[in-house]
């Protein structure tokens, strides 16, 4: 909110790329430290592609939704 008041819409690009960077960090971290637990979901018939696509899409959509809500305030 403060960032939007201070910098206007130009901050959007910075936040967008920062969010993508943090998603990348999350991806690398989970692949390294939670790799064994993927077998739990594989044994339930859920593929790695499905898990990554659904969680990253949800996370990014939530980010965009919250940004749009803040912009309207």
């Amino acid at each position: 909110m403060v960032l939007f008041r201070e910098y206007g819409m130009s901050i959007f690009a910075v936040l967008f790329w920062f969010k993508l960077f943090t998603l990348g960090v999350v991806y690398v971290f989970i692949r390294s430290y939670k790799n064994k637990e993927f077998y739990y979901y594989l044994n339930l018939g859920l593929t790695r592609t499905f898990l990554w696509t659904s969680t990253l899409c949800f996370d990014f959509s939530l980010f965009l939704f919250l940004l749009s809500r803040i912009h309207k305030l």
């Binding site: 939670k34 064994k36 637990e37 077998y39 739990y40 594989l42 044994n43 339930l44 018939g45 593929t47």
Partner: protein
């Protein structure tokens, strides 16, 4: 009806090192198939190729003569117990059982030591109990085949005997492919067993093949 899980034409190389090259393995429902081999011979790799989790240069994995590219997508066909614990530690025990359509009462009936763990999370269990739950879930869950990679590791002798009994009961409903370095248990529980040596599978004709192929001194 007897179902078959069969694999051949597998070629797996890591750089210049050829790990698997001349493989033929067949499992059937109603049977326990053992797989023995020295360290680094590719037992785990072979299981992961069967499961579809590891890509090989070439492979043919068939269920009832129908080829499947990614068998793990169909849990009714195949489940895989890796050599490590795979259940997320923060998950409540009961949740893990429910996810695999198993009942807590059945677990307690067979393993009474879990009676007081109704509300426990996986991380609250001891190392041995955790491994036992991982093994139990894969053996008991509904599927035609189960691949078990080192199911006896970290288990005490009495629990190993209980797991062997459980497998003998469950093999009425499914087929098992099992590997472990506790080879006497593997020989004891298996209807037939393969020895993996120099990238090839050898169907053991007698217990003497274990020594002949350089796996163990009897």
């Amino acid at each position: 009806m007897v179902h078959t899980l069969e694999a051949d034409s597998i070629l797996l190389e890591f750089g210049l090192r050829r790990v698997l090259s001349d493989i033929h393995i067949q499992c059937r429902t109603g049977e326990i198939t053992g797989l023995l081999g020295r360290n680094g011979q590719g037992k785990t790799c072979l299981m992961r190729i069967l499961y579809g989790d590891l890509n090989a240069s070439s492979r043919s994995v068939r269920f009832d003569d129908i080829s499947l590219r990614q068998p793990f997508r169909q849990k009714q066909h195949l489940l895989f117990l890796p050599q490590f614990n795979f259940i997320p530690p923060s998950l409540p025990l009961q949740r893990a059982l429910l996810d695999f359509e198993l009942e807590f009462g059945d677990l307690v009936q067979r393993f009474p030591q879990f009676r007081a763990t109704h509300q426990s999370r996986i991380q609250d269990l001891s190392g041995g109990e955790r491994r036992l739950i991982n093994v139990y879930i894969i053996i008991r869950s509904r599927s035609r085949f189960a691949l078990l990679d080192e199911p006896f590791s970290h288990l005490m002798p009495m629990q190993i005997e209980q797991i062997k009994e459980l497998m003998q009961e469950e093999k009425k409903n499914k087929g098992f492919l099992i590997t472990d370095h506790l080879y006497r248990h593997i020989i004891d529980v298996s209807d037939k067993f393969y020895i993996l040596a120099d990238g090839k599978t050898h169907l053991a004709k007698s217990i003497g093949d274990i020594e002949r192929l350089g796996y163990a001194r009897l």
